[in-house]
Amino acid sequence: MIVRVLRLSFAIGALVGFAWIVRFWGSQLRSGAERGAASSGEVPLSDPTGRVFEPLPPGLLDTGAGVGLLLLAGYLAGRLCSRLKLAAVTGYLLLGVLVGPQVLGIIRAEEIGYLTLVNDLAISLIALTAGGEIRLSFLRESWKQVSTIAIVEAGGVLAGCLVLAPLVLSGAGIISDPWTAPSLAIAALVAVIAVANSPAIVVAVINELNARGTVSKLALAVTVCKDLLLVVVFTVTLALAATAVLGADESAGASAVVKDIAVHLGGSLVAGLVVGVVLAYSTRAFRQHLVFFVVFACFAIALGSEALHLEPLIVAIVAGMLMENLFGEVTEELFESIEELSLPVYCVFFGVAGTKLDLVSLADVWPWALVFVAGRAALVWATTTGACLLVETPRSCKQWLWSGFIPQAGIAVALATIVNEQFENEDFAEPLFGFILAIIAVHQLVGPVVFRLGLVLSKDDEPEARTQSGGETQADESRPQVE
């Protein structure tokens, strides 16, 4: 065990060290004009016929090495974490932090913009996987549990954080008087973001352990339902907060908000159905290169959703659900390819997320961030356990289901970014954004560890858990294990 851990650590160290040497030595090795032009654009470069041209933007050529490093070293870091009984996702995230601009600087800030292209691919892929994991038979049997837990947990966390957030924000110096209408409006936004979970981390940890028991199924179903609910709640809260903080003139009207929700949610659902049918019928035609087809499909979902102002996450979840439940046999190979792609995509996606973790913000506000994290964790535990007592759930759910609602990642960051853009001219915008990112950073790092622990202690990863939870299909057995 120790030898294997040491070997893996050495391999990661060798890869990272090599990349670090090349990055800093490489920039010295490039010729004078290449360096000058790349950094400042002051030296005009001309070709042999005297025509001037612009060099590639700085960081673009380095992206290949960045992706390679996140894949190779990320894979090894994931294996190392698995050996240490931690979630592989934690390994990818920590590697991202290590090689990111705030620690070693191997992946520079200007490169992250190019690397985030992978995010859109990853979000669609993760959402397709999440959708494919939700079976209608399970929902039919457990709709009472899923809806009760989702409503009680989301409502409880929202209500609790509505009280907690003003106090913490005031303590951190982001708002002055916690009980005025604008302060409460800002706190409400923080509370809504605190409800958000990470389907990506939930799916990644479930896949890593090949957990197919009740805890994992309920955690995923509730997370997806909560995210659908969150789109509505967040849009309404943002509109109300904008009115309270900016005044009626600068905020969107109520009718516009309703229209926005209807188009956003309804359009995404319809688009998801269409995408699901198209993918199911195209699978056979592209059987020879299914992995490439999946990559293309994920890009297409991201591209189409962006163009139509839809939510790619919802589109892909609905598509995944439709394919699994209506075209199960036809799309079995497609889901196998999605699962094959999961590991490399997770390595890059969570690695990039790690490079973006705002350690500076965390360092500034860490005592108050930790108070909020602890408060949220207590609320998640209390409301989930309470909800599990209200409806009939196995003992493992009462004890450990809450662990699936601790992780936060992409969705929470996206919501925080929208809040930041809405209030960008206000004094509190920047510190508020930093504070929310700090909280998400903690949840991003701690969440996978807690959820993995929950699944292991609830024995959700053991073969008996699958048969007990029911609904196991032939497709489950044939799907390869990720880790």
Binding site: R30, R51, E483
Partner: protein, 407 residues
């Protein structure tokens, strides 16, 4: 958004072009064999690129540079992995003869022609240093020939000659990659942006390219050895390796092709059993990567190639017609002529597809108008020689059971 569109278009076309229906189409006749090969991808690339209908802009093409690095790294590794010392020792003498002949004729005939025409086109104003990299590209692109032999439909007695064509072409590709990679490092840009010779820089850059490739090869070997058996793990490690090797070379300002090929040689010669899986993985995506390279070449083509460019392309087509066909006879000198198919020698006319990758590598590092014109020249030569070979070589009859895949 544009970048997504570009990637989506490239990947879709690559998938469509490599689907099973295309193989069936390829077998249906000589013209359709060309049409269903990689060349339509060039045409499509040109049509959607900045010189065509401009559906994809120059800036967007630049943003797809990481995809190109990945593709070039893939090609480089594919070439390097073939070079196992143990296998080289078993090569027949005819392979050395055909390679020697090709190298000599290319350096003398094509090298002289390229030198004179490039000097007249650009060297008079900018100096010799400015035309060194373009010269090595044209010479490298002239080396060897297309290794694809399945579509030739030669009779069963021709297997040895077809093998000679494939082996000679494969090894010539590696020499071409080395020539272009070294040529690119012989010059550098001064603080003022002028292209100049710099011996110290060149030596250091080449040493670094070789050293880095060696270290990458060893690292790659280590990681391959620790890869699990699941498809996901292999995908993560193999794609990671290709991106890392290609990316590190690009970061050092080196050709991703050269470093990847050198790393491939190191991996091939120190690896154990696990390497077979890696090789299989690399070869599995050969068609898709090839189509991506063809598409990108089409997108980077320029309409401003001018008379000098057309002149170089025409001269090279004629020179290929003169110099390439005798190579087969030279390699087989002394061997009994047992009624061999003489028309097979015209297939050597076809330019190696590696030429496109070489040209793209140059245009990737420096996205100048001149380098895009060089890409255009290489495409014109490739397309012309493909058509010329089609009419000069014997019209083939596909063999039974042939699936049409490129060798």
């Amino acid at each position: 958004m544009d970048v997504f569109l570009a990637i989506a278009v490239i990947v879709t076309l690559a998938l469509l072009a490599t689907g099973p229906s295309r193989y069936r189409f390829r077998k249906s006749g000589p013209i359709t064999r060309i049409v269903s090969g990689g060349w339509p991808a060039v045409v499509v690339g040109f049509a959607i690129g900045p010189s065509g209908f401009a559906l994809i802009s120059d800036r967007t093409i630049e943003w797809t540079a990481p995809l190109l690095i990945l593709a070039l790294g893939w090609v480089g590794l594919m070439i390097g992995l073939q070079l196992r010392v143990a296998l080289l020792r078993q090569l027949p003498a005819s392979v050395s003869r055909i390679l020697g002949y090709d190298l000599a004729t290319v350096l003398v005939l094509f090298g002289t022609c390229a030198g004179l025409l490039l000097w007249a086109w650009a060297g008079r104003e900018s100096g010799i240093a400015a035309i060194v990299a373009p010269w090595t590209l044209l010479v490298g692109a002239a080396l060897g020939w297309s290794m694809e032999t399945r579509s030739l439909g030669a009779s069963p007695g021709e297997e040895a000659r077809l093998l000679l064509i494939r082996l000679g072409g494969g090894l010539a590709s590696l020499i071409a990659v080395v020539i272009v990679g070294v040529g690119d490092k012989l010059t550098t840009r001064s603080e003022t942006g002028a292209i100049q010779f710099d011996g110290a820089y060149s030596t250091l850059a080449l040493a670094s390219a070789i050293g880095v490739a060696g270290i990458l090869g060893v690292l790659a070997r280590y990681v391959i050895g620790r890869t699990g058996r699941s498809q996901g793990e292999q995908l993560a490690v193999y794609i990671g390796l290709i991106a890392f090797v290609g990316g590190i070379s690009a970061e050092l300002g080196n050709s991703p092709l050269l470093s990847a090929a050198l790393a491939g040689i190191v991996i091939a010669n120190i690896a154990a059993d696990e390497i077979t899986r890696f090789e299989r993985f690399i070869l599995k995506a050969e068609h898709v990567v090839a189509i991506i390279v063809f598409l990108m070449a089409g997108m980077l083509m320029s309409r401003t190639v001018g008379w000098w460019g057309i002149g170089i392309a025409a001269a090279f087509v004629v020179l290929r017609g003169i110099a390439k066909p005798p190579a087969l006879r030279f390699a087989e000198a002394g061997a009994p002529d047992a009624g061999h198919d003489r028309s097979l020698r015209w297939t050597l006319l076809r330019q190696s597809p590696i030429a496109l990758a070489l040209a793209l590598g140059l245009a990737l590092v420096e996205p100048s108008a001149f380098n895009r014109e060089l890409v255009t020249i290489v495409v014109i030569i490739g397309l012309s020689t493909e058509f010329a070979a089609l009419f000069l070589a014997r019209s083939p009859t596909p063999r039974a059971g042939e699936n049409g895949a490129a060798s």
